[in-house]
């Protein structure tokens, strides 16, 4: 499909051009910052359970409303922005793209898989072909937010590690039981 082709996304009120960029906002927990360039996890391309779809922001509508990518970044501070074209979403991944205007910021759209659920393969391939557009601030997140690599296990203090691990287990299960247990020291 040529970039100039008009694509109608599942009954969208306005046509979406195939070369229009769809911006996907990705939280830091989903970004593999140890890779160069950073790449999102396939989890970044899951549907939200509330909408049964994946949210994106379409560049054409952002621009026509007089806004810019930097405005989107300000609205969603702390998020990374990756992009796929509408053409990729529809042609390569067989998705439906539908405009879904929201009052807080222009350009919101929903991406759905016709089968009802995007497969792991599609999510992983989306993660590998999407383009990094911007990242929070000008620097990568600090080292504490970076996922541990195998080499990073060097020098871990055992007593401290066991205490933190134990504490987190108790906190996690306390949430489900509704009680707060004091972890054994």
């Amino acid at each position: 499909m040529a970039d100039s082709t008009l694509v109608f996304g599942g009954g969208a009120p306005e046509a979406i051009r195939g070369n229009c960029r769809a911006f996907r906002l990705v939280k830091s927990d989903w970004v593999k910052v140890e890779l160069t360039p950073p790449v999102p996890s396939s989890q970044a391309f899951q549907d939200r359970s509330e909408s049964g779809a994946m949210s994106v922001y379409l560049e054409d509508e952002i621009n026509s409303a007089g806004h810019s990518l930097s405005d989107l970044q300000k609205r969603w501070e702390g998020y990374w922005v990756f992009s796929l074209t509408v053409n990729q979403l529809i042609e390569e991944f067989g998705q439906e793209v539908v405009r879904d205007p929201q009052p807080d910021f222009p350009g919101h759209a929903l991406v759905r898989d016709p089968s009802g659920k995007r497969t792991q393969g599609k999510r992983s391939r989306m993660a590998s072909v999407c383009v990094l557009v911007s990242q929070p601030g000008s620097e990568l997140p600090n080292a504490q937010e970076v996922q541990p690599l195998d080499e990073n296990s060097h020098g871990t203090s055992l007593p401290d590690t066991i205490w933190r691990f134990k504490h987190r287990v108790w906190r996690y299960f306390a949430r489900w039981t509704g009680k707060w247990f004091v972890p054994p020291s």
Binding site: Q46, S49, S124
Partner: protein, 155 residues
Amino acid sequence: MTASVLDFPVGGNWRWSSTNGTQQVAYVNKGADNLPTATLGRERSYGQRTDVLQRLLELSFKSPQVQPYTLARVLEWVHNLPEAMPNPFVATGDDGSISTEWDVGGNSLHITFERDMEEVYFSSPTGEEWESSLDAVDKLSSAMRIIALAALSRR
């Protein structure tokens, strides 16, 4: 959750050591001439995985959608990974699923757990690409071997 055997040279071991009363984990690299070709069974790598297990708990605590059963399955999976496998990137999804992902040397092995289901995706620079579940033991074992070897060659 049955793929457990990897056939490839072992590059070294993780060891606990004590210095001035403080215990630490350290990687003991074997020399190039001392590389036994081994069939790695369930060589538990608890010390190596502690950071990942903690990260999983931390992420699950932040994600109310994650069910304890899903978390338990992932914890077991990570805990039982063969020692030569590098630590995975882990992430929780908005739908309550949990992923363990490896991206090494152009090879990608992504596994997502959701309740009693799991989805596996593998791709390599050679063009091999498939989707399956953890029941595909042979394919999964082969993919894990590729990831482990790629990680080993980068050390």
